[in-house]
């Protein structure tokens, strides 16, 4: 039987290793898997590389994980946002490494990893500081830079509905990076607001097919992200 449900948040993050690259869904406070991040904090893996659009806000979720000192590096597009105090302190103190990636390139690099693409050329960042040092190529008269796939050992994402095969739907703009991150990680862990019976999600309305999902845990009343 194909059953990706796990009994607890602790089970959902079991086995994540020191030094792992962890993709964390969410944009702003929408779609942040707060309970999975708390479970990862509890689990204890360290030396982590976090890939997420933002570098946390307030003192919860990603900020809380960073505050434990267990994040070696963050890969993101917009680390500096309202309330990103934990990141700013660590950055100023030289205690965290930052790889800044344009938002669309960040998403496309993860998509490439998930889709088995070995790399791609994009006009984004060509001729800019973020394109420096990258291989360039003129294509149709436009300068492009080469970007490599960005793979995660783990992805932590939040869904609205899941079934035991891992088929997922999302709520409005909380969808954001989750479907792409689900593809791009070796171990994709999902917290879903509702776990429904197999067959309850209309096949045409599945957003992330279960093939991209490894573990599902129900969190019926998730906390809001980015709280102080």
């Amino acid at each position: 039987m194909l059953d990706k449900r796990v009994a607890s948040l602790a089970d959902s993050v079991a086995g994540i290793r020191d030094g792992a690259t962890v993709l964390i869904g969410g944009f702003g406070n929408a779609g942040i898997p707060v309970e999975l991040i708390d479970a990862l904090i509890e689990q204890g893996a360290k030396g982590l590389t976090i890939v997420a659009n933002n570098a946390g806000a307030g003192r919860t979720d990603i900020a809380k994980l960073m505050a434990t000192g267990r994040v070696r590096k963050i890969v993101c597009s917009y680390p500096r946002s309202a309330g990103s105090v934990v990141f700013e302190e660590l950055y100023a103190a030289g205690k965290i490494e930052l790889e800044l990636v344009p938002q669309g390139t960040l998403s496309e690099r993860m998509r490439a990893a998930g889709a088995g693409i070995g790399g791609f050329f994009t006009p984004t960042a060509a001729g800019t500081k973020l394109g420096e040092g990258k291989e360039t190529r003129m294509i149709d008269g436009r300068l492009h830079v080469f970007e490599a796939p960005l793979r995660g050992d783990v992805a932590l994402i939040k869904a609205e509905t899941a079934d035991r095969w891992g088929n997922l739907t999302f709520h409005l703009s909380a969808r954001n990076f989750a479907p792409t991150m689900a593809m791009a990680a070796d171990l994709t862990v999902v917290q879903a607001r509702r776990v429904v019976e197999l067959g309850r999600i209309d096949p045409e309305q599945v957003v992330t097919p279960g093939i991209f999902v490894d573990r599902v845990v129900e969190v019926a009343n998730p906390q809001a992200a980015g709280q102080a």
Binding site: G28, A30, S77, R80, E88, Y91, V101, T124, R175, N176
Partner: protein, 222 residues
């Protein structure tokens, strides 16, 4: 006649008049966001957000916010009939693929060749942040910049060459400031409109790049 620079709302209103009916538009954070309030009501414009929305409507009424429905500036929004939700990778496929007709962006500097600088000042004491700025700059079919004509201390923001790190090279098509409406042409910057009471020489004096005045220039009306 004393010079009467445009207010932020007046810049937004002026830009709103130029948004074509049926356009797919991405509004940057800040001043560009105001433009949605001023598009003539007989035009149907579809607003795009990098986090996976087409068809954003006005801000929700207090108490009706949904934390899962926000724009790229992380503010709560609503959906209009005809809206669509999709994931981040598709949202940026729309941008990079040239499907967004128009990106309205703020800027720190714009150069006469259309270079855009709106993500970093080169000050390394703050961590850098870029978001979707480079994707929008490189990808949108047209890029219009909305900004004050100069920095608060009067330093020009329109220059022959940007001194801040570039967001994208040669992408800006128009510049709407509190003093002028300027078109970026292959021959440089062409002033189409000036704020009431402004003389061209004075505008040129507040600008770090050579301007030309269009033969059919007008006073900005809002």
């Amino acid at each position: 006649m004393p010079v009467k620079p445009l207010t932020r709302d007046e810049i937004a209103r002026r830009v709103g008049r130029d948004i074509p009916d049926g356009a797919y538009v991405n509004l940057g954070i800040g001043l560009p966001t105001l433009v949605a309030n001023y598009v003539p009501s007989d035009r149907e414009v579809v607003y795009h957000s990098e986090n996976g929305i087409l068809g954003m409507g006005p801000a929700p009424k207090p108490g009706e916010e949904d934390p899962d429905l926000i724009n790229a500036g992380k503010q709560p929004v609503t959906l209009v009939p005809g809206a669509a939700i999709f994931h981040h990778t598709d949202a940026f496929a729309m941008i990079r693929g040239g499907h967004i007709d128009l990106a309205l962006l703020g800027a720190m500097q714009v150069a006469a060749n259309g270079d855009l600088a709106n993500w970093a000042t080169g000050d390394e004491t703050f961590p850098p942040a870029v978001g979707g700025a480079m994707d929008l700059g490189a990808g949108a079919a047209s890029v219009w910049v909305l900004m004050d004509h100069t920095a608060k201390d009067g330093t020009p923001k329109i220059l022959e060459r940007c001194t801040y790190p570039l967001t994208a090279a040669g992408v800006v098509d128009r510049i709407y400031t509190n003093l002028a409406v300027i078109e970026v042409t292959v021959d440089g910057l062409l002033v189409r409109e000036m704020a009431p009471g402004l003389e061209f020489d004075e505008l040129q004096g507040r600008t770090g790049a050579k301007l030309r005045l269009a033969n059919d220039w007008r006073t900005v009306t809002v």
